[in-house]
């Protein structure tokens, strides 16, 4: 297994070019990226790689970028990260929640290398974190889902029960419920970020249970392909626009746009102003985009969704605004109260009305 991974990393990475080149001032800044899926997943890893390409375009020969794709979370990630740091990367972006501890561990061994971890909450002097407020986009999706469902059942494919995914489920449900009090949500945990066959099976299981809207927090387009098989079932693009499935089943999408952030951070590293910050941008900052809402959605629903997106962008509305109760009926947010970022970053409960338990 070890040999396989090493070979794979070596083949995929194209990093074997410069071994231990001395860090001279005129050397380009070497920026590394670690992806959890293949860059061709057309979802999460694809979008991060688009950010990497934007960095290359912006800075030309002032930077050199390297990447490793399909790096498993866990112990393998630590090896891949160490390898990248030893090969002279100056700034490394690790782009999945499961890389959190490996990033912290490797960063402690390479104090001169800067690390940035996406979607985690652990920081160090040379480890910054960044994330996007996907729940803002999911509020918009939830509104469309609640208006569009005829069976009043919407299905949600979760990857892992981590705060970011739970934010998405809660946000979707809250906003679907707001426009359709009868709506129910079924959650299926796939325990993978990327396994098209399993994602398709999960979507199929949901559809067999009578769900007619599928939302997914996994990385491939397989749930949309499955939804396309059953007339009347709609879904949303996730991470990427996934326009190939428009106008239906894909009726809109939430799009991750990492390019502005990556450019900003590489600039900071070049200028020497880089610090271990924590960034959490949303629709307003351009990190979360709402893909075009297709004509399969009635005009008034489209207008409603766009108005919601606009109010989130200008900060006049926060998707987690009270009154909201926890699943057990206890009060979470009072009337008009807004959830603080600390609570959201560690969110581990469903809101009132969602059935089922979060796997602990």
């Amino acid at each position: 297994m070890q040999r396989r991974t090493l070979l794979k990393s070596g083949a995929a990475a194209l990093v074997a070019v410069s071994l231990a080149s001395p860090a001279l001032a005129q050397d380009p800044l070497k920026v590394g990226f670690i992806y959890v899926g293949p860059i061709g997943d057309l979802g999460w890893s694809y979008q991060h790689d688009q950010g990497r390409l934007a960095v290359e375009k912006e800075f030309g020969d002032k930077v050199e970028t390297v990447y490793l794709e399909s790096v498993p979370e866990g112990a393998d990630a630590e090896r891949a990260l160490t390898q990248m740091a030893m090969q002279g990367a100056d700034l490394i972006f690790t782009t999945s929640f499961g890389y959190m501890d490996p990033t912290i561990n490797v960063a402690a061994k390479f104090p001169d290398v800067k690390f940035e971890h996406a979607t985690g909450y652990k920081r160090a002097d040379n480890v910054a974190t960044y994330n996007a407020r996907f729940y803002e986009g999911r509020a918009v999706m939830g509104t469309i889902a609640g208006r569009m469902t005829k069976s009043n059942k919407i299905g949600y494919i979760g990857s892992f029960p981590i705060p970011e995914v739970i934010q998405g489920i809660n946000s979707t449900y809250i906003h679907a419920k707001k426009v359709n009090p009868d709506v129910e949500i079924s959650v299926v945990w796939a325990y993978t970020w990327f396994d098209p066959a399993k994602e398709a099976d999960a979507a199929k299981a949901l559809i067999e249970q009578g769900v007619d809207v599928i939302l997914a927090h996994t990385d491939s387009t397989a749930p949309l392909a499955e939804a396309a098989k059953t007339p009347g079932v709609i879904g949303f693009g996730q991470a990427s626009d996934m326009l190939d499935f428009a106008p239906s089943p894909r009726v809109s999408s939430i799009i991750d746009n990492w390019a502005p952030y990556y450019i900003e951070r590489v600039q900071a590293a070049l200028d020497g102003t880089w610090t271990a910050t924590d960034t959490w941008g949303g629709i307003g900052e351009g990190e979360v985009g709402i893909g075009e809402i297709t004509d399969a959605v009635p005009a008034e629903v489209k207008a409603e969704a766009e108005a919601l997106a606009a109010s989130i962008a200008d900060k006049s509305y926060h998707p987690f605004t009270g009154p909201l109760n926890k699943q057990d009926g206890s009060v979470w947010l009072a009337e008009g109260e807004v959830a603080d970022d600390g609570t959201l970053a560690g969110l581990n409960f469903y809101v009132e009305g969602i059935k089922g338990d979060i796997p602990q």
Binding site: R4, W189, A197, A200, D201, A202, A228, D244, D357, P359
Partner: protein, 309 residues
């Protein structure tokens, strides 16, 4: 408790979900029966997935897609056959390299095919038979490949059990030196077995990209080839047990997703690990009879053969 899960739909789903690993596993069974261990199943599957997808999209015919996938899988496996049978390279390392090559190569040729929709594979038409209650919707409304995969199992079983060629193939796998001394062409036979294994793995991959998902995504086999390898051992190199093992694995996977969707209050972790627990349990049970289990692995499995030895 399972009130809202329709067992008929469940069985229909599990047959579809199991078909890719079933096809890959029965091919690998023949390869291993000939005494060759080809760990490149994952690579051959993914190449079959993109080759079949491309052939189906370009020709508009799912049938040509499956033919193309079988040819591509067999072609890839011939690289392995050349390296291990002619150049006598180590089978384990070569198989792993084949997987890496397949994953990379498929990503390369697949670049123009992301987001494309393949032509739909039609279901079999059994006429009024498919309206029989229970049996019809459960067993008689699938696409042809589901039945083809079962036919391949039956054919392999009959070939190994009843034919002279099957006996020779088993002899080559048990003792290549003895088979060679008797005048059988060990290398030629093994190359044919490897090509058959590659063709089956290619079909399995194409089933993923043309029927089960259906679309092309990089890395879409996501470990199915490794499960197929495990199922061959699990089945102790017996064709019908390959069928049982694949359906069991596919069935538990589909069942756990359905249980979740139906809101059954079983902790998800138990459901997710269920396929693996079942696999381990059955492995323990079938290997409890140690003598028989040990006897059944081909004795020359993985050993290099050269006529001079």
């Amino acid at each position: 408790m399972m009130g809202s899960i329709d067992p008929i739909l469940l069985i229909a789903s599990l047959m579809v979900a199991s078909t890719p690993i079933l096809l890959a596993a029965i091919g690998e069974l023949v390869v291993e029966k000939a005494g060759v261990l080809n760990l490149g199943v994952e690579g051959m599957m993914i190449v079959g997935a993109i080759a079949g997808f491309a052939a189906a999209v370009e020709s508009g015919s799912p049938l040509l897609g499956f033919v193309g996938a079988a040819v591509a899988g067999a072609a890839l496996s011939l690289i392995f056959a050349f390296l291990t049978q002619v150049l006598l390279s180590n089978q384990v390392a070569t198989g792993l390299a084949l997987t890496l090559f397949g994953i990379g190569f498929s990503a390369l040729i697949g670049q123009g095919y992301t987001g494309v929709r393949p032509p739909p594979t039609p279901k079999m038409d059994f006429g009024p038979l498919s309206d029989i209650p229970v049996i019809g919707p459960m067993l008689l409304r699938h696409d042809p490949m589901v039945y083809v995969s079962i036919l391949i199992i039956a054919a392999v079983w009959a070939f190994l059990k009843f034919t002279r060629a099957g006996l020779v193939l088993r002899a080559v796998g048990e003792s290549h030196d003895a088979a060679h001394a008797l005048g059988y062409k060990v290398v030629r036979l093994r190359v044919l077995a490897i090509a058959f294994g590659g063709a089956c793995a290619g079909l399995g991959g194409a089933y993923l990209s043309l029927v089960r998902v259906p679309q092309w995504t990089e890395g879409m086999t996501a470990g199915a080839g490794w499960i197929a390898l495990a199922i061959v051992v699990f089945a102790s190199w017996r064709p019908w047990r390959v069928l049982a093992g694949a359906y069991l694995f596919g069935g538990v996977t589909v069942l756990q997703l359905n249980l979740q969707a139906a809101g059954v209050a079983i902790p998800v972790q138990y459901l997710s690990m269920a396929p693996y627990v079942m696999t381990i349990l059955v492995l323990v049970l079938i290997s409890a009879d140690r003598r028989r289990a040990a006897q059944n692995a081909p004795a020359s499995l993985g050993r290099v053969f050269h006529a001079s030895s």
